[in-house]
Assembly symmetry: C2
Homo-oligomer: 440 residues x 2
């Protein structure tokens, strides 16, 4: 993409309304624009990041055997009355009347609707286990939306729902999502730790929050340091195998957010040199809730013995739009964002220091063409701008690598390759710069 | 994908509520489920089709130089007051009050919001031309939603918005979208004809509807037959070149829907043997509306002469969810859907006629593994079901090719390859079946 033809509205000033660093950087780097309180438009660069996050989540859900569907944003209120949640949910649920005075809600979550879909079609245990998921916009009418996309009102969530014949099956489904989450967040360049959590309005008796460690995190977290070093299961993991060892290896170690933290237990269970007190951001939560929805909604299957039983359910959420902010909280410096490669809006930034100079233009075009042919996404700054402004913009928007092409280096046949995260710069021949990125 | 692990709720009976063939087939083939009047959930197979359509549109928008963003579903009412459309739009617009009594609308279209985004960032003609698009759920509160996704209330639309300094630029932007639409619909296997249209509530003085020819279409259409045979511009078309010849070659020929049809003119301009009277379905519409939004919203840029001028705008819609229905209307037979290859939910259906038979299972696994390795999406019916039921299901869901593997054929080393559209069957060696699809 040539920047001269792109839409990248970078701001020079830091907007006043932003209280946290990710919100400031998302506004300054032209990722988002607020359209109403807690409601954002995703500008081109931000949209690319959102797509990358969504696609990683999709790939890991599919790998774990979940099946993608897409439920609508608006739901009939009657569905929520069946489970008693229409009254229980409170003012965070946006309630709507259509022109015929029929009551709708803008879905804040989908347990009720997906259970309705399940019961309409599935009647035998032979169709189980089943896990249906979607990635759709949700709405929660927060009293005080803030922190940009970290606590917005209209937000993009991936939510998966598992259906099993019995508790043992539900536990296996839970474990599959637990492992899929470890993989998904790791691919986004995040260090996340699953922490035992309260179940809240979703209900149930087993739940984990996945917490990104970030100095600027919203809540304090306490855990065993060994949780940081555990290997992430590889892409070849067999989701049909017994995943309990991977899960229990983690769950046996202390890990808690401040609202459920027990300092005495922490000190008792964790040796002093293994105690980690840090700050974190929740980016996902998984729940086992058993028959909470299947009993009131009569979602039953006929078991092997011919008797009808309500299914055992779980739900599994990932805050897709929230992650864009959380990743920035975990990965930035004074100059701007540092995107991990897996979610970067472009793979490489190409900076032309002297547009109009025939040699510099030719070298840039060659690099642009060859790396594009190698399926790399390049953002090529071909604008007639000061070098300093170009460097500052590219550092701000945080593309992982920069290739800088100027007349002085080119006289020696060299271009500069800069790693955004470390600031390390190398002067290398044009061909080496191309080869370095074309092969990966 | 193994059907034993998939979620494909095919219905045996034709649902009563469906009045048109695409709605009936979408319900029977398990593509969608109605959740409220005019509001649908997309089940796994339907979701795959929706994604394919969305991706084709995205690729053609990007090729034409449009830039993708994502605006929210909810919009502040005040934005619509600026253009006078809050009162003008009528009861089709879903109006919402949040917990603070702030007025929102569920966006039925986005001219107002995208103009707000544009004016916030763009101040110089040098940033033009600019075309911003998104694919997002919209809502129109139809009095009588019907025909499934063809006239739903919550629907997925791609809408693009062009910004130009003057009328000539706007015309070039209009032509780019005109050509991109020809390409996008063609890739979906559709024969579409652009027809001069009324501009309606979007405003403006130049508009074309893109009409799919289908016997079961919603409205009568009249056009010159030569419009059917014009070549579609190739993927290598240069969108920076003058596209007027491609556009005017078409616009000079008579083409009109029944609401603007002029029979006398039709007979005067079109020789008798070239007159086509048919039925059609609208799947896209493009508008040039000039300064209709830029003047009231003060979306101005500084021109080369230093004076501020309101931008010249256009908008360009494609009914992404509607297309799933329109494609079925245009491509089905008595047995079910016939998906064009570009939008098919799977590339190939693999039917195991005798699961449990070691030889048949092994042949199926080999074909499944090899074609999956060749990046083909296979739906493998590995269920223990009657052959007749398997054939009927696969014909109903309309995957373009079927590979049928049974014990009798395998004794001679043969499997059957069936083309869904023609019904033509070939008995070929396993290796030929694999080679036929692996190379394409």
């Amino acid at each position: 993409m040539r920047l001269s033809r792109y839409f990248l509205p970078v701001l020079k000033e830091t907007p006043n309304e932003a209280q946290i660093v990710s919100h400031r950087l998302m506004l300054r780097a032209g990722l988002i624009r607020q359209e109403a309180a807690g409601i954002y438009a995703w500008l081109p660069l931000g949209f690319r990041v959102l797509q990358k996050i969504e696609q990683i989540v999709r790939e890991e859900m599919n790998r774990a055997g979940a099946i993608e569907i897409l439920m609508p944003t608006l739901q009939p209120a009657d569905l929520w009355r069946e489970t008693g949640r229409y009254d229980a949910y409170g003012p965070e649920m946006l309630r709507i009347k259509d022109r015929q005075d029929r009551e709708l809600v803008y879905g804040p979550t989908n347990e009720d609707m997906v259970t309705e879909i399940f019961r309409a079609y599935v009647h035998s245990y032979k169709a189980l286990p089943l896990n249906l998921y979607h990635t759709q916009w949700k709405f929660r009418d927060e009293v005080r939306p803030r922190f940009g996309v970290m606590r917005g009102r209209e937000f993009l969530m991936k939510d998966a729902y598992s259906f099993d014949l019995n508790k043992e099956g539900a536990r296996r489904s839970y474990n599959r999502m637990y492992v899929a989450y470890l993989r998904a967040f790791s691919r986004m360049g995040l260090q996340t730790i699953p922490m035992r959590a309260e179940t809240g309005p979703i209900g149930g008796d087993l739940s984990h929050e996945f917490i990104v460690l970030a100095e600027t995190g919203e809540s304090g977290v306490f855990c065993h340091k060994d949780l940081l070093d555990m290997p992430i299961p590889g892409a070849d993991i067999d989701f049909d195998s017994d995943l309990e060892p991977i899960v229990s290896q983690r769950t046996k170690l202390y890990a808690a957010t401040e609202d459920v933290h027990d300092q005495a237990r922490f000190e008792r269970e964790v040796p002093a040199d293994k105690r980690l007190s840090a700050r974190g951001i929740e980016v996902g939560q998984i729940f086992y809730f058993g028959t909470k929805y299947s009993v009131p909604m009569k979602a039953v299957v006929t078991g092997p013995d011919g008797r009808d039983v309500p299914i055992e359910g779980g739900s599994y959420g990932i805050g897709v739009s929230r992650l864009a902010g959380a990743i920035i909280e975990a990965s930035h410096d004074d100059a701007g964002i540092i995107w991990p490669e897996g979610v970067a809006p472009f793979d490489i930034a190409l900076i032309n220091l002297k547009p109009g100079d025939a040699k510099v233009d030719a070298a840039c075009e060659e690099i642009y063409a060859k790396l594009t042919a190698a399926k790399k996404d390049i953002l090529y700054d071909d604008r007639d701008e000061r070098a300093g402004a170009k460097f500052a913009s590219m550092d701000l928007i945080g593309i992982p690598y920069q290739i800088v092409v100027g007349p002085r280096g080119l006289e020696k046949g060299l271009v500069e390759v800069k790693v955004r995260a470390t600031g390390v710069k190398d002067e290398v021949p044009v061909e080496s710069a191309v080869a370095r990125f074309a092969k990966t």
